[in-house]
Amino acid sequence: MTGAGAVAALAAAGGFGIAGGGRYAQAALGATAFALLLLVVALVLRAPVLVPWAVIATAAGYLAVRVGHDSVDGWAAVVGVLLLLAAELAAWSIDADPRIRAERALVVRRTLTLAGLCAAALVANFLLLATTALTASAGALLALLGTTAAVVAVAVVLRLSRRVTA
């Protein structure tokens, strides 16, 4: 069920790109199809390394449609969350072993955790995109914001991982 959910979420994320139309709609369709194929292979072969590639392919399809558009697409927030949902459900499906019986409370908690994460990601994305839309000159400021975010993110990740392994 989680595997089917992952495929559905990825297809929905790809659908946003295809629905955008434009010159590269066919490219988006091809990228989404390729991503779905990768995801199915990853689920069948239980190969988690293929999941990020499926996400990248879908994101590439979405970006291809956005080429030539100067405005920021507000639906990107939803697409990002759908990609996360697809990756999480795929990881759950690959991780799930039919021989291991999971307690009901554990499944409920994991579902709630995933729902909470998606909701938080959606709120964060909307805030991020709202900030970008308010900015008058998107180019330089966006680059600065992106760089700062990247550096801070990497620092936070490193800091947290050091605390965990200590």
Binding site: V51, A59, D73, A105, R110, L128, L145, A153, T165
Partner: protein, 425 residues
């Protein structure tokens, strides 16, 4: 508990890095929106991941069971920190099978929570089964990091073979000096009537056969056979076995040995054990319940150990083979060393009988004609081997899986009776 990163952690980190760099290069804020959820998941997952402190132990309710019986194994979990998800698995040896759906199981533990997981297991085969280890794998809430630990305790379950009830067993040719249930051939103080003879001074009055005395006109007294015990050596061949789908000739031999030991000891005979194989095991003959437990315990450790070392009967300690003992061999007659040892024992005037635990039910006649001919030749050579043993004076009977042991013992008895008659004539 040392942590290790899962493939998911690497994948999310790579996605976040690639997405953020691409957003800088392409100046597309949408890319940040596509990447941010993964970065958020990473940050949240690593922030929430705390090194777990979990103690795992394993135990069983009963350490001694009969083959086929069920026993409850318990995995005890003691969490000193919150555990979002722990997968617990109690590994079972080949001779045990799980009857519970809760092995393996995933569960969640709160701080200070103690859980006891009960796993119903069944001893499918006799033997000394060591359960475990019990593995525990802890994951953080988002599955980025994992920790693994193993229970320090590994409980043992000794599954004793189920014994057939034997109504009659093989009687040795010779008896020993101690009192038992076997009627000796010589005459003496006993219950079993043997003969009448003329009264002699010193004979007690209660032994006078008044009816015969009245008929013959002289005093006659009854003579009787004394009841004596016997020495029996159970010789288990563990050089080779034929095995198919969890059953083997060794399994049959061990079950039969346990049943025979029980039957002989019940008759107050002294029983010894020789496990003749890659590892030589022996027990000096003895009687009583303690000896029965010793024999069964020794049988549990019997296993096939591959060995090319040529062993002869000289390697068996002399005290293990007392004179006039019945040596009862249980062998699939697959290894020349055990066959040679049995012939050697017979040549040394031991009373030897062999139950041939047939490997044929554990094999299949090949479909290929050439292979089928080879199979038939092998089966014929086994027949020839049995005849060779019989010519040496060893009673042999073939025992196939599914047949009652009593039937085979009766066949051996019949051979021994006829062999004695032939010798007398």
């Amino acid at each position: 508990m040392r942590p290790y990163a899962t493939a998911k952690l690497g994948g999310y980190a790579a996605l976040a890095a690639v997405g953020l760099l691409a957003s800088l290069v392409l100046s597309r804020p949408e890319l940040v929106a596509l990447t941010a959820p993964f970065l958020l998941a990473l940050a949240a997952g690593l922030a929430l991941a705390t090194p777990p402190r979990l103690a795992v132990a394993a135990a069983v309710d009963a350490e001694r069971v009969l083959e086929g019986d069920e026993v409850t194994a318990r995995v005890l979990l003691d969490a000193a920190t919150p555990i979002d998800r722990v997968d617990v698995y109690l590994r079972l040896p080949p001779g045990m099978e799980s009857l519970s759906a809760t092995n393996p199981v995933s569960l969640r533990l709160r701080t200070g929570e103690r859980r006891e997981l009960a796993v119903r297991v069944r001893a499918r085969r006799w033997g000394a089964h060591v359960l475990g280890p019990a593995y525990a794998r802890v994951s953080d809430p988002f599955g980025f990091l994992r920790w693994e630990t193993v229970a320090e305790t590994r409980p043992q379950v000794r599954a004793y073979p189920r014994e057939d009830a034997l109504r009659r067993i093989l009687q040795p040719w010779e008896t020993q000096v101690f009192t038992g249930n076997e009627v000796a051939r010589r005459k003496g103080e006993g219950i079993e009537f043997a003969d009448v003879r003329a009264w002699a001074p010193g004979d007690p009055v209660r032994r006078v056969n008044w009816r015969a005395s009245a008929r013959r006109g002289e005093l006659l007294v009854n003579e009787s056979h004394p009841e004596r015990n016997t020495d029996v050596i159970l010789f288990v061949d563990s050089f080779a076995e034929a095995r198919q789908e969890g059953a083997s000739t060794l399994d049959l031999a061990v079950r039969a040995t346990a049943a025979l030991a029980d039957a002989y000891i019940g008759r107050r005979d002294r029983v010894g054990l020789v496990g003749f194989g890659g590892i030589l095991r022996w027990l000096v003959p003895g009687g009583g319940t303690v000896q029965l437990y010793r024999i069964v315990d020794a049988l549990l450790d019997t296993e096939i150990v591959l060995s090319y070392y040529w062993k002869e009967i000289d390697v068996i300690p002399r005290r293990t083979l007392p004179p006039n003992a019945l040596v009862l061999g249980l062998s699939p007659l697959l290894d020349g060393r055990s066959i040679g040892a049995l012939l050697d024992l017979r040549a040394r005037k031991f009373d030897v009988a062999v139950v041939d635990v047939s490997p044929l039910p554990f094999t299949r006649r090949p479909a290929d004609p050439v292979d089928a001919v080879a199979y038939d030749i092998w089966a014929l050579r086994r027949d020839a081997l049995r005849h060779r043993l019989q010519r040496a004076g060893i009673a042999v009977a073939e025992w196939r899986a599914g047949e009652p042991l009593q039937l085979v013992l009766e066949e051996v008895r019949s051979f021994r009776r006829h062999a004695r008659l032939a010798r007398a004539s």
